[in-house]
């Protein structure tokens, strides 16, 4: 959307894709704790330090109590598949070479309104297209794994992927 820049808030930097060409998240001031967490194998959710409510994606103010006092807490990373799609070309490389692959939305078991977009894989080294899409079902239990990527400048990134629980 053209409005992306307008609600990007504390956009810091897009450091570019991984060595393989996968799109990496542009880390903003609000989401930094999340991507620091994935690098050490933790799934972190933003929490309001005033009323305790969780929110995702991260943002400056709690929509429940309007506090800007915010932190994060680690969650277990167990969830269920809420929905999924199977993209086919035209796509960008390297995704088009992997198509058809899966993209899933996962609902966290311990916080049912917190959801993540991700991919169902067989393990932390898995590719987006290794699970037969016809075998995926809404409601399947999954748990988080973290796959590490490296950018051309040598910086590391880790993305949350999901495996069958």
């Amino acid at each position: 959307m053209s409005n992306a820049a307008a609600f990007s808030g504390g956009y810091v930097a897009n450091l570019g894709p991984s060595e393989e060409g996968y799109l990496m998240p542009a880390v903003d001031e609000e989401g930094g704790f999340f991507w620091e967490g994935t690098l050490v194998g933790e799934l972190r959710i933003q929490v309001c330090n005033t009323c305790g409510k969780l929110r995702h994606p991260p943002r400056p103010m709690c929509p429940s109590c309007r506090s800007t006092d915010r932190g994060w807490k680690q969650v277990a990373g167990k969830g269920t598949i809420w929905s999924f799609v199977v993209p086919h070309p035209p796509l960008l490389e390297p995704y088009s070479s992997l198509a058809p692959y899966n993209v899933i939305v996962v609902t966290l078991d311990e916080h049912p309104t917190i959801r993540f977009v991700g991919n169902l894989v067989s393990g932390p080294e898995g590719e987006l297209n290794e699970i037969d899409p016809n075998s995926i079902r809404i409601g399947e239990p999954v748990e988080v794994v973290f796959k590490r990527f490296r950018r051309a400048d040598g910086s590391a990134e880790a993305l949350p992927f999901w495996v069958r629980a």
Partner: protein, 386 residues
């Protein structure tokens, strides 16, 4: 919620125009915009020098200053742009109508000019897409709008038992109407259920024919007071009611991060729209519903109250959305799926033609028309009447 003060039927759409629709048009977006605005003024019988309000989309490439310097306007006293891509269209016309209804301007023009057919697709820009919320979705290969809407569609089908046959009913109804409209890109291309089912996947569960066209084209309309419209060339098409809608905890296009992702902006918009209107969904004779993707029509039928939640699939059966026997003919010129995709502005002009009685799929005796903008993004809607 009480009706907007002084707005109901206070203004009317007095002129409309469109360019040809094509995969590729030679003129620039600026030239198309200027040409279509001048043509809409001619349709109304108003000189372009009288325009004093200009309204369009934030995504529109041609700014007001360039329109004014090209078409020879006088002093412009109201200008506004509405955001969120396909959610904007009815908001653009509605804000123009508000400017006229409140006396900020006398002659307002709303327009959209876009070379989407021959120009770049926004999703291929990786510098824009990786910002929030793209950072949470794009690295995982959810690259395009179709992937985002397909995600909601799969969940919708799972919760309510809707099927691909229901999506096919939508696509076939709209195609049938395009086949009646010589201006539609798909005018000469009938589509059977077999054609639909055999088309290639784009993002399962959505196939090629669940996706809108990629079009070069431009459209405009002219809004004046109801009183003035009665003295002009065409019968007035009254702007009966207008609303915009942005619900709590909404995330544009990737509305997965709240309690109930399957009730999107259409629901918020509809509550205000019907509060502003002297009639309800049961009184709507024909509807132009934003259809960048076929499932958006199912969600919108529910959001605007034509059926209960989960009942839009069955509502598509038995030709119910088709001219001329259906209870609610939709997108009677072919919509975004089969006429042209110009961010939904062609739905507005078709709504005007239905109220004038000049549609190529004219609903007999139609007196009221709902026009909606995109579901899945902050949206807007209009009620037009004769």
């Amino acid at each position: 919620m009480s009706p907007a003060v002084g707005f109901q039927d206070a203004t009317a759409i007095a002129g409309i125009a469109q360019t040809a629709f094509s995969k590729h048009l030679e003129p620039t977006e600026a030239e198309l915009a200027c040409t279509v605005i001048v043509d809409a003024c001619a349709d109304a019988g108003i000189d372009p020098s009288e325009i004093n309000a200009l309204c369009s989309y934030t995504m529109e490439a041609t700014e007001e200053v360039d329109i004014v310097r090209n078409i020879g306007c006088g002093e412009i006293t109201f200008f506004s742009q509405v955001g969120y891509g396909g959610g904007a269209g009815c908001g653009v016309v509605g804000q123009a109508a508000m400017a006229v209804a409140t006396g900020q301007a006398e002659v307002a023009v709303a327009w959209r000019s876009r070379k989407r057919g021959s120009g770049p697709r926004p999703w291929t820009s990786t510098s824009v897409q990786l910002r929030v919320p793209g950072a949470w979705t794009r690295p995982f290969g959810m690259l395009r709008p179709v992937d985002e809407i397909a995600m909601l569609t799969r969940r919708y089908m799972h919760e309510y038992g809707a099927t691909r046959d229901h999506l096919a009913n939508v696509a076939m109804a709209v195609r049938k109407h395009a086949n009646m409209n010589p201006a539609a890109i798909m005018h000469d291309k009938p589509m059977s259920r077999e054609d639909y089912m055999a088309s290639r996947w784009v993002s399962e569960p959505l196939c090629l024919f669940d996706n809108c066209l990629e079009t070069d084209g431009a459209l405009a309309c002219v809004i004046v007071s109801a009183e003035r419209a009665r003295d002009l060339r065409h019968p007035p098409v009254y702007v009966h009611a207008f609303a915009q809608g942005l619900p709590p905890e909404h995330q544009t296009m990737v509305n997965f991060f709240n309690d109930d992702p399957l009730t999107g902006p259409a629901w918020a918009c509809a509550r205000r729209l019907w509060a502003n209107a002297a009639f309800g969904p049961q009184d709507v004779n024909v509807a132009q519903i934003y259809d960048a993707f076929s499932p958006l029509i199912l969600l919108s039928l529910e959001g605007y109250g034509f059926c209960k939640r989960g009942e839009a699939g069955p509502m598509t059966e038995d030709g119910n959305l088709e001219w001329e026997k259906g209870s609610l003919p939709v997108n009677t010129a072919g919509g975004g799926l089969s006429e042209a995709y110009v961010h939904g502005f062609n739905l507005i002009n078709e709504g005007v033609r239905q109220m004038r009685g000049t549609s190529t799929a004219q609903v007999d005796g139609a007196e009221t028309c709902l026009v909606t903008s995109g579901e899945g993004v902050p949206t807007s809607a209009l009620l037009l009447r004769r």
